[in-house]
Amino acid sequence: MGRITLDKVTKRFGDVEVIPPLDLTIEDGEFVVFVGPSGCGKSTLLRLIAGLEDVSGGQIRIDGQDATELPPAKRGLAMVFQSYALYPHMTVRKNIAFPLKMAKMDQAEIDKRVNNAASVLNLTNYLDRRPGQLSGGQRQRVAIGRSIVREPAAFLFDEPLSNLDAALRVGMRLEISELHKRLETTMIYVTHDQVEAMTMADKIVVLQAGVIEQVGSPLELYKSPKNKFVAGFIGSPKMNFIEGQEAAKYDAHTIGIRPEHLAASATEGAWKGTVGVSEHLGSDTFLYVHDTGLGEALTVRVSGEFNLRHGDTVYLTPEADKIHRFNAEGLSI
């Protein structure tokens, strides 16, 4: 079981309140992603749950029991660190076995679990190597192995993929998702990368300056962001925001339209502009359109190839039902 409840949890460093009182419930078996720009308090929140930091106020409950004062080891949680935090002087086998050894488990059971974890994570051939002799992806797997052998109530991941190169990151992302499907254990995952959040999460928690901006499934956040911040943070390329007269037509202070919800045409459309840089990805083309009279350049995502060149005139039309409206405070209307 792994149901984690945060009740008015607060964190202050000296006089600075990095997390104002915050409530959140994470259901058993959920894959929850904390996402937000750097410095938003998402890692601090994770460390509070882990017990690596003391809370300044409020209560943390794990499966209904008060864990606020429990030391990290007693909370039944496992953590995968950004740097993997493998023990460099131990072999892979000993690294994975370490938490079991600390739990005074008998050797036969330790061996069984380590071998089992190794085969799940494709580490069997590397068990006698040291972390220094492994690649980044393998180290990542060892760190995961070390956390799964304990059969924790929940896994905590602190930006675990940020040290990997792009190709490996996609692979590991899949592996972690796969692992979650198989173990059905609660996972809390911290990242600044909204793509990771969108692809992996059951539930995304968007944080800014220690405050939860919105909680919801990836598609909820994509389709109905509560405010401009969430709207801009989720989705890639970023949502276009238009203010002023054009927004007033829709009875809003600001309107937002995602690049994929703009249709581009060489001949006719609602807004006229000039093509700037176009990025050809093969499957899609991203156009950066200037001089529309709507403020900043607009990003447009066109499926497949699009044959307009730098400086050509282009006409854009938004899909009417995909326009997001915001008031002066940035909240969705």
Partner: protein, 276 residues
């Protein structure tokens, strides 16, 4: 810099560097060579470099006359003892400063360093009298304590800079894995810190071995280490080149070897981590 250098240039560098290196090393080499000569050959004119009758006589005489082993034992006892005692005090202190730093950590470190800069001569008399009153004059105990204290800031600083390189996340991982504070230190910190502790040990044994102010001023004969023993050769009647060389060679050989092993750590240790 990955670039090729012509063989000719490399040869010039090599010749020049070796010439300078040998020149700097020459006094030591000469001392070692002289220690194997007879007293006559040691002062022969012109000097003989390699072609003399090699003899171990000087070593035997020095040993017999001056009870060399006694001084050697004192040197070992004082340098190793003061360093181990220092480590005992310094490891917990450095550990806590490196892993649970507070706002005052930096001030404490700087203050510790400042005690190192107190000129010894400024406090010579109080220490001397203090040792005398406690009956510790000419005792190894007094020297172990005093030398431990003068090297303690260096030991703490060196350990601190090493410990700080151990990522905090690893210790947190151990904590998450259920390790208690004791287990954290035994299974994780100590094995990872062993190289740093070893080089701290080595460098501080060297520094203690060569310490020549307190060892001369706080000892007479009983507790005198090699520094004081060699200093006794400065009086003219003790002066025989070959024997002086033999005594010197014996006094510096162990530390020279240790020093060569610790040369990589030397820079960091002596600059308090400011140059790495």
């Amino acid at each position: 810099m990955a670039r090729s250098v012509t063989t000719q240039q490399k040869a010039i560098n090599t010749a020049l560097a070796w010439a300078v290196g040998l020149l700097i090393f020459f006094p030591i080499l000469w001392t070692i060579l002289t220690s194997f000569k007879t007293e006559g050959q040691a002062i022969s004119d012109p000097p003989v470099f390699l072609f003399f009758d090699w003899t171990l006589e000087n070593y035997r005489v020095v040993q017999e006359r001056s009870n060399y082993t006694n001084f050697l034992w004192n040197s070992i006892f004082i340098s190793v003892g003061s360093t181990l005692l220092g480590l005992l005090v310094a490891i917990p202190a450095a550990w806590s400063m490196a892993f649970t730093p507070s706002k005052r950590t930096k001030d404490i470190l700087m203050w510790m360093l400042s005690t190192k800069m107190l000129p010894a001569v400024g406090v010579l008399y109080p220490i001397y009298i203090g040792a005398a009153k406690m009956g510790l004059l000419d005792s190894r105990t007094a020297l172990v304590i005093v030398i431990m204290l003068i090297n303690l800031p260096i030991i703490i600083w060196m350990l601190y800079t090493y410990f700080r390189e151990i990522p905090g996340e690893i210790l947190e991982a151990a904590r998450m894995d259920g390790a208690s504070l004791k287990e954290e230190i035994v299974y994780i910190l100590t094995p990872m810190a062993v190289p740093g502790i070893a080089s701290t040990l080595l460098l501080n044994i060297i520094l203690a071995w060569n310490e020549a102010f307190w060892t001369i001023n706080l000892t007479v004969t009983k507790a005198a280490p090699l520094t004081a023993f060699i200093a006794s050769y400065s009086s003219p009647e003790g002066l025989f080149y070959a024997k002086l060389s033999a005594a010197s060679t014996m006094a510096i050989a162990p530390i020279l070897i240790m020093g060569w092993f610790s040369q990589k750590q030397l820079v960091r240790g002596l600059t308090f981590g400011a140059v790495k």
